[in-house]
Symmetry: C2
Amino acid sequence: MKLSKKSEYALRALLELTMAHGKTTLQRHEIAARQHIPVEFLEQILLALKRAGLLSSRRGMKGGYGLIKSPNEITLGQVIRILDGPLAPIGCVSKTAYEKCRECPYADNPQCPVQHVMGAVRDAISGILDHYTLADFAAGSHKQ
Amino acid sequence: MKLSKKSEYALRALLELTMAHGKTTLQRHEIAARQHIPVEFLEQILLALKRAGLLSSRRGMKGGYGLIKSPNEITLGQVIRILDGPLAPIGCVSKTAYEKCRECPYADNPQCPVQHVMGAVRDAISGILDHYTLADFAAGSHKQ
DNA sequence: GGATTCTTGATTAACACAGTCGGTAATAGA
DNA sequence: TCTATTACCGACTGTGTTAATCAAGAATCC
């Protein structure tokens, strides 16, 4: 039930990029310095976010990163899935990356008690993270 | 955001012990066979649950394991914490194992956006797992 | 052309996860 | 009392993940 450092750094980096959005772009080292993130590690995180289509970038002097979409079109759920994979605690209740549980006496039987409770947990997590946008995040509150 | 195999096996083992509760005790190999769990791995799980005060045990012939408390006094949250540690996605929002986040620009400032959203996630997870008892679990449904 | 910055890929050390193994201690039954 | 059975305990192992670090390449601006 743990969030990786990678995802945490990604959220903090996107926080900076959200605040800069519309005004300017930010360079790796600026983000790293403000959020105390190792710059080389941050680099691969920003690259992953770029490949996923969340960021644009520009090389050379005056280069840097910027959000492509509006901060209220990006949810924290999307971000965490990019870096940590599915939100579901167990493969057999994932909606974005379902995986049939092998070696379970209940197989893919929907009566499975584990599926029942973990499905509820998945829905609760997704209910928050998939409705919480970067705009909410930067504002520090969640307008539901 | 993932449940370990250890916790999953623990839940499945406790499912068997709940069904047997009041009638009989169960031996490692019975639980292992019914739930398809490697018996030596199951062993250390049962031992951990015993040390945590959830199970009683008896050695030798006619030995085995049994629940100490009533199934509606044990929650899935308790069980998962024993094997996987805190439910919170991040140390700085854990209620059972709080840890101040070092190297975060917001430190322990309650305005921290990460704390805000992850606190909500923690509460959602705990809201389910700390109110879901073994009795609910075995019945396959949750009476709120 | 040279400084700057992003881009890519490889590599690393430390740790956690999932499982295995060998030996010890208690209990029941013969 | 002997023996079979079962739980108990600690150490060990392989595999993969996490959290970086590093070196070299490619685009961009002055």
